[in-house]
Symmetry: C2
Subunit: 139 residues, 2 copies
Amino acid sequence: MGKQRIYTISELASEFGITPRTIRYYEEVGLLASTRESQNHQRLYDARSRARLKLILRGRRFGFSLGEIKEMIELYDVDPTQKEQLRRTIEYGDRKIAEVEEMIADLIQIKEEMLEFRERFTGLLTDLEQKEERGKAGV
Amino acid sequence: MGKQRIYTISELASEFGITPRTIRYYEEVGLLASTRESQNHQRLYDARSRARLKLILRGRRFGFSLGEIKEMIELYDVDPTQKEQLRRTIEYGDRKIAEVEEMIADLIQIKEEMLEFRERFTGLLTDLEQKEERGKAGV
DNA sequence: GCATGTGCTTACGTTTACGTCAACGTTATA
DNA sequence: TATAACGTTGACGTAAACGTAAGCACATGC
């Protein structure tokens, strides 16, 4: 088995650069469950929860809303014996894959444009520097 | 010269699938200027404004805040005769290019994972279907 | 044994990015 | 000429995603 490290809420928070409040909020909206230490009522997280949090933050990074993220993550919880559920999940996944492909294509185009832009600017800069050199030489 | 089509606010809005209010809001926060038909006070947009709006929406699509988008777009307005300004812009641009590259890499990884996931599910599905077939044959 | 740190719940506050509505002006059309 | 249709400027409303603060419980080091 994998090592079963468990994490407190502030451990996870500082690891991912977020606040405990954020994690509690994700629980509040049903995105991330936690087990509780009996007696203490303290939230505890295992490797699985940690992975799930990572997924959430990854989605957030690309501008998905928590609602969309929830929809996507819940695919991991599909019942693998229900044909109709499997089919719907695959279909939904195909749409999401297409979306991601589109995003990749767009980002590549954006990068190209930024590079062109960068070259224009470095060109302008070296022009200015050469002008300055000639100025100095002229004196 | 390029054809100088001009656009009303609702033309632009419907073209990009947003509302006039959104465009007015972008003006309110200093993201998108408009010329006004004198007398009428009606907002009008040329090709340049339209391109700028496109940039804004592209940034939004990838989860950038309007603040970040503003910072990025303002690079287009740099004074091309100021060396220090040019240098800073290039430096900033390099950071943004690196960010975009990272996003692309991450998205590619996400896509890979989604594809693996998809294969597991199609596998499960064909298993189920085969089981069903054998069941029918048994009768 | 008490202060300090960590966590809990509850609840109200805040920022971003618009939505929505009122009250009004201008232009095309029947 | 009146009535849509489209535009304008306020101004208030709102959903999402947390921030923040109060009041309390529990553990731990000195």
